[in-house]
């Protein structure tokens, strides 16, 4: 059972990183972005592309990858953020002017399907892996086996969350973002450059999504469907934690990850996404604000 708990933490870390971007775009741009899952997919494939360029035989300690991979992660992060900005410029910004929220949602749903098929078009539909090296698990606690890669996933996620926390509370851009999310018109009156905030929302959300996708690719596999398969757990995490709340998204991500993995011995692995859905459904039924949410 405790092993499932550990698996749940790893799965939860990926979901939480993805859910942060989802909740940020929801809060600042005010729509549910269904194309967010594809940022994970593209992040993972971009990293695959660069991992090929920077392939180094030397791996870092017990990890399955070398320093070149970390460069690939950084490059993938930048490219995914660019993709988000291009998508916003071409699609979401013209639609934002029309002021119909739901048109944005259907557009994002369409963009999600298109991007998914662009991946199939460019990279094919076979699942891929970053490395042929086998990640050896060792017993880190009594009854818990984890590989070095998995520990890396947890550590990197924790570091990114701490960095995000410091960014939002200590920098003026971070404070502007929180101001826009609280009240866009008031923020504009106070002289905040809302367009810049929107740009940074995309960059941060897509960047974190790219990392989440890469980490998923590292511990599971890379496929064109991966982002779409994760969108439901990510939405569930964001809603469970209280949509708009970044800390809620992290908490929700962990809860969803744990629930999905702990349910495996009970109902099997096939129904994992359904577990996320049921949790989301239950919270909407009894407490739609979510655990840390402040609005409905």
């Amino acid at each position: 059972m405790i092993q499932y708990f550990a698996d749940g933490i790893i799965a939860g870390a990926t979901i939480a990183l993805g859910a942060i971007g989802l909740t940020l775009t929801y809060n600042i741009l005010r729509f549910a972005n269904f194309a967010h899952g594809e940022f994970l997919t593209f992040g993972a494939y971009f990293a695959l592309l660069f991992a090929g360029f920077f392939a180094s035989a030397q791996t870092i300690g017990p990890l399955t990858f070398g320093w070149g991979f970390l460069v690939a992660v950084a490059a993938a992060l930048v490219l995914t953020a660019l993709l988000a900005l291009v998508l916003d410029r071409l699609l979401f910004r013209p639609l934002r002017r029309s002021d119909v929220i739901v048109t944005l949602v259907i557009a994002s749903f369409g963009a999600s399907l298109m991007l998914r098929n662009v991946v199939v078009f460019l990279w094919g539909s076979r699942p891929e892996y970053y490395s042929r090296n086998i990640a050896v698990s060792s017993e880190i606690l009594p009854g818990v086996r984890m590989s070095a890669d998995e520990l890396f996933v947890v550590a990197l996620t924790a570091a990114l969350m701490l960095a995000l926390h410091l960014f939002l509370t200590r920098t003026s851009l971070g404070r502007s973002m929180r101001a826009v999310s609280d009240d866009p018109s008031l923020a504009r009156v106070a002289g905040i450059d809302v367009q810049a905030v929107i740009r940074w929302t995309w960059i941060i959300g897509a960047g974190l999504a790219a990392v989440a996708g890469i980490l998923f690719g590292l511990t599971v596999q890379i496929s064109s469907e991966m982002g779409f398969n994760l969108i439901l757990p990510m939405f569930a995490a964001a809603i469970l934690g209280g949509i708009g709340s970044i800390y809620g998204a992290v908490l929700g991500g962990l809860i969803i990850g744990l629930a999905q993995e702990m349910s495996v011995p009970l109902i099997g692995a096939a129904y994992k996404p359904a577990v996320a859905f049921l949790l989301m459904f239950a919270i909407l039924l009894v407490y739609p604000k979510g655990i840390l949410g402040d609005r409905t």
Partner: protein, 326 residues
């Protein structure tokens, strides 16, 4: 010549089934502003309900009732309606995006059930030999397809006429009022939640009905038939045709199904076998581009919603075309 004719019959039968589903979505989105992206899920429920009620005895434990065709259709209406009712209760009180998230969730979950609950659905093998109505009437495939076409066209006309009557009734005007301004509608004593729930359940039932006709027409259902791409196709049909207009929903279904099948045929003939997967991907990208450009440049679709004004009022011509979405 006979080849073209029989293909046309086949094409129109499929298109009319899509038109039925699209009409259901139009009631939800076009008239009520409900954002359902779980169309494939309700379609699935209808199709499997029909397979279980009317199909022969399968390897699965449930089913094999071999009930009459009409019972299957009614059953599909009911089950998909019940699913919509359950989904609608927590979500229709909240902001519209929640319905989107929950409907995509229910569609995913239903697909998982179809794939894994072998005792109910036959699992990944699917359910085959789903009967057509009046099996002994025609000898030829063409004859049977013509029968199916006239049947699905008949159902489509019935659904169309029913919906037209409903949306032009006071009930339909309340739906539009809630869509445009919920606070104003509520202040006039209209319970927005109840109206939304009715519209959502009726629309989803119509999708289930389309699913049942599909199961009967194709004779085989499997979980792969109900992927999110189906939802996307129906949405594109509605947006391109013109949401908020039942004629637009039917026209959009016809046009987009033609675009889809034509592009599929071209991809099949032009591309070598090794690139067929990429051809399929390119097809989806094409449909996606059609949807995006329609949303950005012509949000009303081919034929948009009629302006609802009393006959004495003077409407400024062209004012609705200037980037306004309904």
């Amino acid at each position: 010549m006979t080849g073209t004719f029989s293909y046309l019959v086949f094409f129109l039968a499929q298109a009319s089934i899509f038109a039925i589903v699209c009409l259901g979505l139009n009631l939800q989105w076009g008239y009520t502003g409900l954002f359902n992206i779980g169309v494939a899920g309700f379609f699935l429920v209808g199709a499997y309900t029909f397979a279980i009620l009317c199909g022969p005895e399968y390897l699965m434990q449930v089913g094999g009732f071999e009930l009459p065709f009409l019972v299957g259709l009614v059953g599909a209406l009911l089950t998909s309606g019940v699913v919509a009712f359950v989904v609608g209760i927590p979500t229709l009180r909240l902001r519209e995006d929640y319905l989107a998230i929950v409907t995509i969730g229910i569609a995913t979950t239903l697909q998982l059930v179809a794939l894994n609950a072998e005792w109910l659905t036959g699992g990944s093998q699917g359910a085959a030999s789903i009967p057509r109505p009046l099996p002994g009437l025609f000898e030829t495939v063409l004859g049977r397809n013509v029968l199916m076409l006239s049947l699905s066209l008949g159902v489509m006309v019935l659904v169309y006429a029913g919906l037209e009557a409903m949306v032009r009734s006071p009930w339909g005007r309340v739906l539009k009022a809630i869509r445009e301004d919920e606070t104003a509608a509520s202040s006039l004593g209209k319970n927005a939640f109840l109206y939304r729930l009715q519209s959502f359940v009726i629309g989803s039932s119509i999708m289930g009905l389309g699913g049942a006709l599909y199961a009967s027409f194709v004779g085989f259902v499997s979980p792969q038939d109900f992927m999110p791409i189906l939802t996307f196709q129906v949405w594109t049909m509605l947006i391109v045709g013109g949401s908020g207009n039942n004629k637009g929903a039917v026209l959009g279904a016809l046009v987009m199904w033609a675009v889809w099948t034509l592009s599929g045929t071209i991809a099949q003939q032009v591309l070598p076998a090794g690139l067929q997967v990429k051809g399929g991907a390119a097809q989806v990208i094409l449909i996606g581009l059609v949807l995006m450009t329609t949303l950005v440049f012509r949000p009303r679709g081919l034929i948009g919603e009629e302006a609802a004004v009393s006959s004495a009022a003077v409407v400024e011509s062209g004012s609705r075309d200037s980037g306004q979405t309904a």
